[in-house]
């Protein structure tokens, strides 16, 4: 991640200069200074490039004079639509135009200082790279820009707005990295080790292995792990940031199947490599805990992740097996590829028993059906609580991590009826199968506990670049849930 420095608005003597321009606005501040210093080259360039300031429009003017190597124009859209989210997108767009420069200044002098920080946020979110496993990359293919100056009229205010944002960005990066890591490197044991690093931020981290989980009666989670050489883990992360002690914590639970072959109900080979990100729910929870601790959120929060690998083998769980979950309810496993809900069942039960939380949000790359239902723009939201749903929906709108509420109901629950156990782990075929999965999970939620389940199978990974998210792991959920907590759960 490039370093961000907030500086006073003076015209740089070289390098790249980024001008953020709303539609139809006159050049003011640094932009006007640059135009004057270059004897009108900016205004001429705007005209020659037919640059109107339309949202996401860019134009690059090379060597316009005054020592500047290039001036990059980024459109912000109509003045009324210049929201903080639009400024983040502009920051991300600016990065793609200046990554090959050696030094750069972004003129954010016409924005309030807090919004200048949002430009920085968008920029660093887009600039993230995962180059750990590249050994032959040529220097010219790497960004050269290590440091970016953001010119603002209120340096101290921008800095103080930036500090918590940077912590959230770090949480996003941690989540992205965990999701991007290959499954031979990031298996349950390794992922639990990486969770321990959060202790440096003041998070209490407790790791439970198969022995402890067996004692807790985690038959559902351990059944999934049975086929793998690598042991299962559950990690409990606690951030105690509330000023007032003793209030129930907020609680986040993530599905962490570090690789999902489907087990004996094995998946088709095509696209199976994507199943390394079947731990994105857990990755989000770890990233979220890092974000909350990093910005010292005034909240008590617990993050729990159930970490397993789902493999076919001589010791694997079979279709038809009956397992007993921690709640005591028995489950007939008819499809070993419906494993995420088995992991969540035990971890959610533990979370409620140990923490009596204010609410629980679980995240899981749970069903392909949610992609067929909603696509990649919205995660599926299932909840027993209208107020929590509304808060999540609102947080989704302002973070760009959108949710869409999906139905629950008795008619769907009936599909889980088993002939020999309390329930089976799938309904009857594809019809409504994201809903059936949510109904399954709801059977492990005690009445009265506000709960939301986010099916993030369509949003955890992206095959296209977005303004603030390079293609690949999106870390979907970190900013959404950070915002949920910030808006509703922190002490005054």
């Amino acid at each position: 991640m490039p370093d961000i420095a907030f500086v006073k608005p003076t015209l740089p003597r070289g390098g790249a200069l980024v001008l953020l321009l709303p539609e139809g606005a006159a050049l003011t501040g640094l932009a006007a200074d640059a135009d004057e210093a270059t004897a009108g080259a900016i205004a001429r360039g705007i005209e020659a490039a037919a640059f109107t300031g339309r949202k996401a429009q860019t134009a690059t003017l090379y060597a316009p004079g005054a020592g500047l190597a290039r001036v990059v124009l980024v459109g912000l859209g109509k003045p009324a639509e210049v929201t903080p989210e639009a400024l983040e997108a502009a920051g991300g767009t600016a990065w793609t135009a200046i990554a090959s420069a050696t030094e750069a200044t972004i003129a954010a002098d016409m924005l309030p200082p807090a919004e200048a920080a949002r430009v920085a946020m968008g920029l660093v979110l887009r600039a993230w790279r995962f180059d750990k496993y590249r050994t032959t990359q040529k220097p010219e293919d790497m960004p050269k820009l290590g440091k970016i100056a953001i010119a603002t009229s209120g340096v101290p205010a921008a800095k103080s707005a930036w500090t918590p944002l940077r912590a959230v960005a770090d949480g996003v990066f941690l989540a992205r990295e965990l999701v991007a890591e290959p499954p031979n490197v990031l298996h349950p044991v390794e992922m639990a080790e990486r969770c321990k690093a959060l202790t440096k931020l003041g998070v209490e981290v407790e790791v439970l292995g198969p022995k402890e989980m067996r004692k807790l009666g985690f038959g559902a989670l351990l059944g999934v792990a049975m086929g793998s050489e690598i042991e299962a883990r559950m990690v409990v992360m606690r951030w105690n940031g509330a000023k007032k002690k003793g209030a129930p914590p907020v609680c986040f639970v993530g599905k962490g199947v570090t690789f999902d072959t489907g087990g004996i109900s094995i998946k088709p080979a095509g696209g199976m490599e994507d199943m390394k990100w079947d731990m994105a729910g857990a990755g989000c929870v770890v990233g979220l805990m890092a974000a909350l601790a990093g910005r010292k959120a005034r909240v008590d929060a617990v993050g729990l992740v159930g970490l397993v690998e789902n493999m076919p083998s001589g010791t694997a769980q079979r279709p038809g097996d009956v397992v007993t979950s921690a709640s005591g309810q028995t489950i007939e496993v008819l499809n070993t590829d419906a494993e995420g809900r088995l992991v969540l069942a035990d971890v959610l039960w533990y979370a409620q028993k140990h923490f009596s939380p204010k609410y629980i949000v679980d995240l899981a790359t749970l069903t392909g059906a949610i992609i067929v239902a909603l696509g990649h723009e919205h995660a599926g939201l299932f909840s027993n609580d209208d107020a929590l749903s509304q808060k999540l929906t609102a947080a989704g709108l302002v973070t760009g991590e959108a949710v869409w509420r999906m139905p629950l109901g008795e008619a769907y629950d009936k599909g889980l009826k088993s002939d020999i156990a309390d329930m089976k782990n799938i309904g009857g075929g594809r019809a409504g199968s994201s809903i059936t999965a949510a109904q399954f999970i709801q059977r492990f939620i005690e009445p009265g506990t506000p709960w939301a389940h986010l099916d993030i199978a369509g949003t955890a990974w992206s095959t296209k670049d977005a303004p603030t998210i390079p293609k690949g792991a999106t870390a979907y959920g970190v900013r959404l849930l950070d915002r949920l907590v910030a808006d509703h759960d922190e002490d005054a």
């Binding site: 909603l374 723009e377 919205h378 139905p407 019809a431 199968s433």
Partner: protein
Amino acid sequence: MTRTPEPGEDTTLKTGMPRLRLRGDAPKPGRTTILPLAIGEIPAGLAEVAAAAGFSGAAGQAVRVSAPGFPDLVLAGAGMDAWERAGGSAMALLDATPPVLAGPARRIALDLRGLPPRAAIAVATGAALRGWTPPIRRQAPVPKRLRLILHVAEPEDLAEDVLAMQGVLAGVGFCRTLVAEPANILTPRRFAARLRALQDDGVTVEVMGVGALRAAGAGALLAVGRASAHPPCLVILRWPGTTGDERLVLVGKGMTFDTGGISIKPAAGMQDMRADMAGAAACAGAVLALARRRSPAPVTAVLALAENMPGRDAWRPGDVIRTLSGRSVETIDTDAEGRMVLADALAWAVRHERPAALVDLATLTGSIVTALGHHRAGMFGTDAPLLAHVGGAGEATGDAVWHMPIGAAHEEALKSDIADLRQCASGRLQPDACHAAAFLRHFAEGIPWVHLDIAGVETREEADWRGPAGPTGFGVRLLAALAAARFEDPHRA
């Protein structure tokens, strides 16, 4: 433009619903009788027999007992307020073991004398809907139509409600019967012929054949129907109403059979595609329901009827089609034909019917079945008040819907390299229901519009209290309730 039916065309209005009679007296002793009861409100005289049968009056409970004078008495539980379910559950029980005592006339009495009007109507509605029978073609004698005798305290007080109920029942029955008909019997032309029967109720029926469709430029509907020996048509049903010129316009997909065309479907389950006209049938049923009770709401139904067949002159994947709206569409999959015929029907409605609101119904996508299963239809739209009213009408009538999104990415997926629009996206795991809705939105052209994707809810896999296995009639009640709630007031905002 009207056309005289061809020999053999069936133009009678069949509903398959039981006949209803309203009476002010007590049920005739000895006759099979249904007695609906709320929880805990069992008459003293029946307490012992109810207890012995384990009957408490809980919602959905139905038991068959013998009481003095009534050797075949069905006690039906309504719980606190589930009167429709009580009627349906009682009939479901009688369906499982036929009522011998009803006799060859198949008369069943409903003892509704103790109920307030609303509850009595609900019980009768539930019983009638459950007593619907599909069109049966067997050599063996077909049993006579059921007769339900409604015994109420004050028949005069109920006359108007019964008229409205009968309208709704006729509408649902008409819809179900159309959906149940096999595709060799219900071709587009014969479907249109059956719709002519609505003229008897004061509905004007206009049928646009191939010539008229060509003149109108309905390239999409013509392309879809091109390979079939049974040509497509657009049927326009108009109920005049009295509240003004702006109309509620219903648009229905009526694929009398959908093979998928050149993008042919797998053989397994293809027989269900005779129901791919359920959207059009629901719109027609709703118009009948409104006409029967002389609704003041001006309503038009525009029904795109066609058969999608493979053939040597069939429409192909890759073909670019000019639609009635003028927009060109690049074909990706000839099995995404529903959105094509709806595109032309919507555009026609926008140009000719002065719609205050457009509501289309279609068994459109497998994607919506994956998304919502068989318990709710997908609802998409552009207008928050209309969405709220459709959603409310759905909850009130049991035709439940769920609001689904049309996002920027869904719109993006429809960009074509060579035409104004692509018809759908290719590849697996596509949110095709959302893509289809984004596609249709173009053809509503800014008019308040709601699209109901009713794939998955048009057919009932197993009999339950709402009806026997087969067509559900989904949408008829919703649309009739929507018209009543929103379009009958001449001063509506």
